[in-house]
């Protein structure tokens, strides 16, 4: 299964993973090998089968609408790479970008 350069660039962008130029073609080849593996599925007749999303045939449990979590900001922000005034800092978010 061939993967075009453009396709690989697009999925790398969707996954937000930068790919260095020198590893681009070897990665592409590896991915193509894996995609090759998927061809086997074409032989299976699935016309009468429902998709299986979960190994459990159960209904989703729910919880009561209660506040059970207290403020743990100090603890939870300890691992943050960059924090100021209790906010996570990131490079400027440009409003109005899709």
């Amino acid at each position: 299964m061939a993967l075009s350069d453009q396709e690989l660039k697009e999925i790398a962008y969707l996954a937000r993973i930068n790919i260095k130029e020198d590893s681009f073609s070897s990665l592409k080849k590896e991915l193509e090998q894996i995609l090759e593996l998927f061809e086997e599925l074409n032989e299976a007749d699935t016309s009468e089968v429902a998709a299986m999303s979960h190994p459990l045939d159960l209904s989703q449990p729910t919880r009561k609408d209660e506040v059970t979590e207290e403020n743990q900001r100090e603890e939870l922000l300890k691992n943050a790479p960059s924090v100021q005034s209790g906010l996570f800092l990131v490079p400027k978010v440009i409003e109005g970008e899709v």
Binding site: L3, E7, L8, E10, I11, A12, Y13, L14, A15, R16, I17, N18, I19, K20, L27, E30, L31, Q33, I34, L35, L37, F38, E39, E40, L41, N42, A44, T46, V49, A50, A51, M52, S53, H54, P55, L56, L58, Q60, P61, R63, Q72, E75, L76, K78, N79, A80, P81, S82, F88, V90, P91, K92, V93, I94
Partner: protein, 484 residues
Amino acid sequence: MNLHKLTLREQLEGLKKNEFSSVELTSHYLERISKHDEELNSFITVTEEHALTHAKLADDRYKNNQSLPLDGLPIAHKDIFCTKGIKTTCGSKMLSDFEAPYSSTVYTKLDNMGMVMLGKTNMDEFAMGSSNETSYFGPVKNPWNKKYVPGGSSGGSASCVSAELAPIATATDTGGSIRQPASLCGLTGIKPTYGRVSRYGMIAFASSLDQGGVVARSAEDAALILEGMSGHDPKDSTSLKLEAPDLLKNLDKPIKGMKIGLPKEFFEKEMPEFVEKAIQDAIETYKHLGAEIVEVSLKNINLSLPIYYIIAPAECSANLSRYDGVRYGYRCEDPKDLEDLFMRTREEGFGSEVKRRILIGTYALSAGFYDAYYLKAQKCRQLVANDFSEAFKAVDVILSPTTPGTSFKAGEKSDDPIEMYLQDIFTIPANLAGLPGISIPCGENSGLPLGMQLVGNSLQEDKLLQFAHSYQMNTDWHKKMPNI
């Protein structure tokens, strides 16, 4: 006294009778770790201080007659389970300095029963790998032969139990990550039914496949701890609403008259002679114990590998999106804008196998390919599950090799992803169907151990353990330990 030669039950008895203290037992293992683990690299973090403090508390409880069910028993935890205030890395650069702000349910349950954590074990990065070579913290060695891999992803857990640096270790299994390293390290490893063990605080790889379990030196040891880990957890919506099963109750019951299924699709495949012989010997042992051998058919089983390598990467591509350098974990130097922050943090923070799987998963879910890949895989997954349901109408357990062979040399398969993926060809189907599976040692080749796998019907961990235990009562493969 060679404390590490005692079974877990014997260790527990010894503690109860005050033949030795938990501090003594714990120190014994800590010494073995400091002596041997530099070479094996089976631990990412050794929690010495934590362990001794907790051992002391256990000893105090014994003195005050307030002991807990598993009080003072040491255990190693796979570094995928969050442990509050202690580094939890998942084998990744992304989380190399991450101190979990909360504890996983598995850790909490065992902690509440008095178990003493020795440390956090090495693993393939985000549990993706079958040789423990993808860890950011370096490869783990197989104690049977240090040129060989211990399997993965729970390679650290398997290696340290096999080298008797810990009496037992937790592990997780998405496509074989408990059973394959157990097979390659000569251990008993059990992955319970999906939903038996809470996934809360167990860092996700593929949510619909991941399940916690243990690697142990025997079925009896495994039963003791798996029981403690199991049970309903309201924090995990996919946790079964069942109390922890009594896994020791049926352990000694005979398997006479019970049926073992051999899937013909597995046995039609060419396998190395020593594998075939080990499996045939095991079948003979079971026949001797009064089990009936029946051929079964799992006609879609050959689809398992492609199904798995679509579904697991698809789920992982979303599960690993949270590692973006914003709230915790690795962040690239001087990001010039938001996009750069995301793109470079994830390029630099993830290893190549993880990136491959994220990209494959992203592709399988993308607009033009969802139906052909992801949806098709989900339908095929149902076919595989149906095959098992059909087979379990006729048999109690299904027997096969766990792995295509014994361990392989480090570096041998690490450049060929597909070759590596084939390691899990026998183990993946149980994850797809959410069924319990166990690997037990049943032979060896050139000084390397080999395991067989038993897969049971949903919720029948007790039956699997019963089969494994009766085999281990009549053979001594599981008693062989590597000479380190």
